[in-house]
């Protein structure tokens, strides 16, 4: 499905910005937002448009946390590991969640159902420990609560 989406939309995204090297990150952000990852084909198109060498674009893509070169799962779960959340046990919550869906570390499940990411701080410390499931903030989560929310998404 993602492949057809690329055929349809990628040219429109590329044309949003002038063909100059300084628009590299803008383009990659838009592609990441549209497809959840940056495919090798997309990266080549970006490089042709901006005149940036592929090696350099790759260096940029791997430097910033928000870019992914691999497809992400249907459901994105972000567990905050900021200081306030850490104090309230978010590390264990993330571990328990990953264990329950068969992940050893943050990443995407084989069936592409879930991606679990740990993030540094969402700046929502009053809600600690906090997780974001498909862009919806989950305040004061516990392991059982988060696992239940996430499992429900998978069953849907």
């Amino acid at each position: 499905m993602a492949q057809t989406a690329i055929d349809i939309d990628i040219d429109e995204i590329i044309e949003r910005y002038p063909g100059k090297p300084e628009y590299l990150i803008f383009l990659m952000q838009d592609i990441q937002a549209a497809f959840n990852y940056i495919s090798p084909e997309a990266l080549t198109l970006v490089c042709d448009h901006t005149g940036v060498a592929e090696s350099q674009a790759y260096a940029v893509a791997t430097f910033y946390n928000s870019f992914s070169l691999e497809p992400k799962g249907e459901n994105l779960v972000q567990v905050c590991l900021g200081t306030a959340c850490h104090l309230k046990g978010s590390g264990l919550i993330a571990e328990n969640l990953m264990r329950s869906i068969g992940l050893d570390e943050p990443g995407t499940t084989e069936d592409l159902k879930y991606t679990v990411e740990t993030v540094n701080c969402l700046g929502a410390c009053a809600l600690a420990p906090v997780a974001v499931v498909n862009e919806a903030y989950q305040p004061k989560v516990s392991s059982p609560k988060l696992m239940k929310t996430v499992k429900k998404l998978g069953d849907a």
Binding site: F63, N65, F67, G82, T83, A84, A126, P144
Partner: protein, 624 residues
């Protein structure tokens, strides 16, 4: 919308001021008899404020009050712990933890019949008494607001509301009446120091850039708030984005820049949206863009969204990132004031610094300098979090003792059986201040002397369930992960330090590890290229300074005194300490604990997943 002149600006101000007078407790001047200001900051939104806001509007319509009662969605109110929160004017009554189902009663009783709803008031955790008025709640009463002066007082998405609160008046003054030198002199006089962490005098920075030769100059705002546990900048951008825009235009005039960027974290979507809206509105009014207010001065402002790299909070790395490259720092000099973005003279200040500027220009540098202490002028905004009752945003005059913030404003430690242990300031570049130094005043020099840094404003309170070795490991993990890899001391050194700390927390520490940590710290501090590495070992050094015995307990006795490091816990019940209350049994998520009334609990280690829920719930420290 067309461009507005100075006289039109003051017309808007007078008109809106009348309506807003209600929010100062004055009745009769505006169109409505009552204003309901509901918080729409990230914290309150996550707690359900949007649904409450919609319900409020619908209910007010339903009860036929829409001509009399106005509902306004504001930015972050600051008291995030109790969201969704709402303030009503002219009474100034503060409602907390609102839910949709409370709304019909609230509208009927409070708005229609003039009878406030007591059960939704703030309840003081120590006296258990309701405190109806916002200004009497200690959390608010002890604060002094400059950078946050408009918080919960205006609709963050309306430029007119900002103008009603003297918005863009200082900018008009700076553009029409002041020379660039006058502006710099006023900022220098104020004594304002950069609020992003380093504390460099703002006026001096501007002066350097003003004197740098060059046609093209840039004004940048650092909104890449990356310190974990800090949300001051997010809240300012969400609640009062125009104050940042106004501050930046004033600086642009001072240094002669015609272009600026706000570098904002993409993790803050609400802040980005509100800021974009603010910039668009300011452009519509001609307060940003070509020939601002017919002064001949032009300034373009755009947002640049960060792509998620902590090191981009460092000024030279941030500029690289805007140029579309890997955000890696470079050696200074040359400083950005001489060669910054695209190698042009550039000034970069953080969000809170910018939010102070309009008032410094409006009320004068002397006024600002009269607040605070000899060493540190003005106020500082802190994000108070962790093991503290009143989590939220706090602005206090410089010099306020930490004790006042933690206990009087913060309301102390939530769990009764826990004690205050330390407060962490300055995030991964900072350190912790222990119990016996809690009277340290919040000013740059005193905090450094106590072993931390002022930092950008993250203030994390920790109770005695916190393991200081684990905290050091946590921050080192962060620094190591975020090290950009350019210079060896930071890249390799932080990795080695993290490995040692992980080993210690896993119960595999050896004699000599602590000394190696100290040696590595000294080298990394000395030899790293940028602030990230130079300050990275601070959390380790400050915990070693005050809690060396905890490190030694981990290394030599294989014990974690705070009962936090899982590998050093046995998950057994101390039969002497157990009071047989059954709380561990009731909270265990995997039924690994057996317990009967009047019998001590016991833990089945085969079933136990070591999640520590029992330890967190035990009030008697009976599980070790």
């Amino acid at each position: 919308m067309s461009k507005i002149s100075v006289s039109e600006l003051s017309q808007i101000q007078q008109k809106v001021e009348q309506e807003q007078a209600l929010r100062q407790g004055q009745t009769g001047a505006g169109a409505h008899r009552m204003h309901l200001l509901i918080c729409g900051g990230t914290g309150c939104q996550a707690a359900g404020s949007i649904a409450v806001y919609e319900a409020l509007k619908a209910e007010i319509d339903k009860q036929g009050l829409s001509g009399e009662v106005a509902v306004v969605e504001t930015g972050c109110n600051g008291f995030c712990a109790l969201g969704p929160v709402m303030v009503t004017y002219p009474e100034g009554i503060f409602y907390v933890n609102l839910e949709e189902k409370d709304i019909p009663e609230l509208v009927e009783s409070h708005c229609k019949n003039g009878e406030p709803v007591e059960r939704l008031f703030y309840k003081d955790p120590s006296t258990k008494k309701f405190i109806p008025h916002m200004k009497e709640i200690p959390f608010f009463a002890l604060q002094e607001l400059i950078a946050l002066k408009n918080r919960s007082l205006l609709d963050a998405e309306s430029i007119d509301e900002y103008i009603g609160r003297d918005g863009y008046k200082a900018m008009a003054k700076a553009l029409k009446e002041m020379s660039p030198e006058d502006i710099v002199a006023e900022v220098k006089k104020s004594g304002l120091r950069g609020r992003g962490g380093a504390g460099f005098p703002t006026g001096l920075k501007w002066e350097f850039c003003q004197k740098s030769p060059g046609e093209d100059k840039f004004v940048l705002c650092n909104a890449d708030e990356g310190d974990p546990g800090a949300f001051m900048d997010r809240s300012i951008l969400e609640a009062d984005p125009h104050s940042v825009v106004e501050g930046m235009v004033i600086a642009a005039k001072a240094i002669g820049a015609n272009q600026g960027y706000v570098y904002c974290r993409a993790e803050y979507p609400l802040a980005v949206n509100r800021l974009q809206l603010a910039i668009d509105q300011a452009k519509d009014y001609g307060l940003v863009g070509e020939n601002i207010m017919d002064t001949g001065f032009s300034f373009e402002l755009n947002i640049y969204q960060g792509a998620g790299a902590f090191v981009c909070g460092e000024e030279t790395a941030l500029m690289r990132s805007i140029e579309g490259k890997r955000g890696m720092p470079r050696p200074r000099p040359p400083f950005p004031a001489v060669a910054g973005l695209w190698n042009r003279p550039t000034i970069l200040n953080n969000v809170e610094t910018w939010a102070n500027i309009p008032q410094i220009i409006g009320k004068g540098g002397d006024w600002y300098a009269s607040i605070g202490t000899e060493d540190s002028k003005g106020t500082k905004v802190f994000a108070l979090t962790g093991h503290v009752n009143n989590i939220g945003l706090v602005e206090v005059p410089m010099g306020t003792p930490l004790r006042t913030i933690v206990y009087d404003i913060g309301g102390g430690i939530p769990k009764k059986h826990r004690k205050f242990k330390a407060v962490q300031l300055g995030g991964p570049s900072g350190g912790c201040i222990p119990q016996d130094k809690i009277d340290t005043p919040c000013e740059y020099a005193a905090i450094v002397e106590a072993g931390a840094i002022m930092g950008s404003g993250g203030m994390i309170v920790m109770d005695d369930s916190t393991c200081m070795v684990d905290m050091a490991r946590f921050f080192m993990d962060f620094v190591q992960e975020e090290s950009c890899g350019k210079c060896t001391p930071c890249r390799e050194g932080t990795r080695r330090m993290l490995q040692i700390l992980e080993k210690i927390c896993a119960g595999e520490g050896e004699a000599g590890d602590i000394e190696t940590l100290e040696e590595l710290s000294a080298t990394i501090q000395e030899a790293s290229l940028c602030g990230l590495g130079q300050t990275g070992p601070n959390p380790v050094l400050s915990t070693l300074r005050y809690f060396r015995d905890e490190y030694e307990a981990h290394v030599f006795d294989k014990k974690c005194p705070a009962r936090s490091c899982v590998a050093l816990l046995e998950f057994k019940v101390d039969l002497d300490a157990c009071k047989m209350c059954g709380l561990c049994f009731k909270n265990c998520p995997v039924d690994a604990i057996s317990w009967k009334k009047k019998e001590p609990a016991s833990i089945d280690l085969d079933k136990c997943i070591k999640c520590k829920t029992c330890i967190e719930n035990c009030k008697f420290d009976a599980i070790y």
